[in-house]
Symmetry: C2
């Protein structure tokens, strides 16, 4: 692709269908039309699109041609196809502020979306050098590791791994499993408030694992965030490495 083929108007297509209006391929025109429908609100953001077979009938083409058009939109992050359930229009990117007080659920519900999350794994492990340095504990010390996925309106926004000192926060996994909130989990151990100390942001490409967790197409961009939060005394309590679906949010830093 890239170069648009110049079509000769003289040519007679003895094939199944005439070239109708322009000289562009069907799938491109269908993709354009679908994009239009998203832009002008005919398809609501976050909603399910009609099925491939239905669209194929509506456009009068084969299902594979519709699939090619959808793939083009998915490649640009406009839609997301989920096997077994359908193709969905991606919602507008959530503005995700990075402040001292950065709380996932507050941000998401503040954006008018339903915040959700689930713990998908936990274990106690020995801190490697990097985690130990971030938490200011000894390398090899015991840490609780929590793996979670967080949603906005049932759509995954981030897959995060958190580390907490096991000495200070024993059984943190159980508490988080009950409360479904990091704020409440820390409060349970007497941390009344906590603040973001440092945030590192870069971007990577989603591999198959990321894609599965975040319901993304492999190859889509991911915002990789490493952060440290501190308690009221400025001591680190929480180290996080999170992968955010870049198609679904933008970070906002206001000074």
């Amino acid at each position: 692709m890239g170069t648009a083929p110049v079509s000769d108007p003289r040519k007679k297509r003895s094939s199944h269908r005439p070239p109708s209006s322009a000289g562009i391929s069907f799938w491109r025109r269908i993709a354009d039309e679908l994009e239009q429908s998203i832009a002008n609100g005919a398809f609501l953001r976050g909603d399910k699109m009609p099925g491939e077979i239905e669209m194929a009938a509506r456009f009068g083409v084969n299902r594979h041609t519709v699939r090619r058009a959808i793939a083009a939109l998915a490649e640009r992050g406009l839609v997301r196809a989920e096997r077994g359930s359908g193709t969905f229009v991606e919602a507008r990117r959530i503005a995700y502020p990075i402040r001292q007080r950065t709380r996932f659920s507050e941000i998401v519900s503040g954006a008018g979306r339903a915040a959700g999350g689930q713990l998908i794994g936990d274990r106690v492990e020995a801190a490697d050098d990097e985690i130990a340095a971030r938490l200011r504990i000894k390398s090899g010390a015991s840490v609780v590791r929590l793996d979670m996925v967080r949603h906005a309106d049932r759509v995954p926004l981030s897959a995060a791994t958190c580390w907490l000192s096991a000495a200070r926060f024993p059984a943190a996994a159980r508490v988080y499993g009950r409360t479904h909130s990091m704020t409440r989990t820390l409060a349970h151990f007497g941390v009344r408030d906590y603040a973001r100390k440092s945030t590192h942001i870069t971007a990577i490409i989603a591999d198959a694992t990321d894609a599965a967790k975040l319901k993304l197409t492999p190859g889509r961009p991911i915002l990789l965030v490493e952060s440290v939060d501190v308690d009221g005394e400025g001591f680190p309590v929480l180290a996080t490495r999170a992968r955010f679906a870049a198609d679904r949010l933008e970070f906002v830093i206001e000074s």
Copy 2:
């Protein structure tokens, strides 16, 4: 990928060489070995690697096998191949702080790299709604637009487009072309200091245009940053949309 098909209708490859000792393909083992060499410092970060032909001879394989290995590393952002000049090991990611006082050249030289930049285009155009809102001027008002590429150690870090009010900063392009510095350009018009007001960060995939400007492989991640800077009175003077090669830096926000 994922599931291996039950029967492979393709013929067995009676290829020249047996599938090596470990049962892993040559190119994978070469890729692993090259990665090791980068990790342990045998290849210095930022340096040029040996040529493909030389490596092929050293490993005793065909040049295409080496190319396959290099492609695997390039896909992960570890190396960068430049047609006509060679393959280079990507340097470690620069820590790029986002503060109120955010100056490209200070950040890059502070990281021990040689900062550079060049104006690749400029023109006067009418502000669209978005740019006008960011600069707090009337929609359709005249703005100077500067397109530039910025380097660290001769490697492109970002491709940026800046907009300034043409009424307040006439001939900004000429001044920037002489000074090669946004700070000095603004100073020339009496703006003694300026500060970052807002920064929006998300990520996209490099297309062919981005890849050419930033010397990237298409498909690599790009950090897309939209920012506004204000003068001493808090009035917007500079709106910027920049694309940073995510393989080459990470943003750092300290609170």
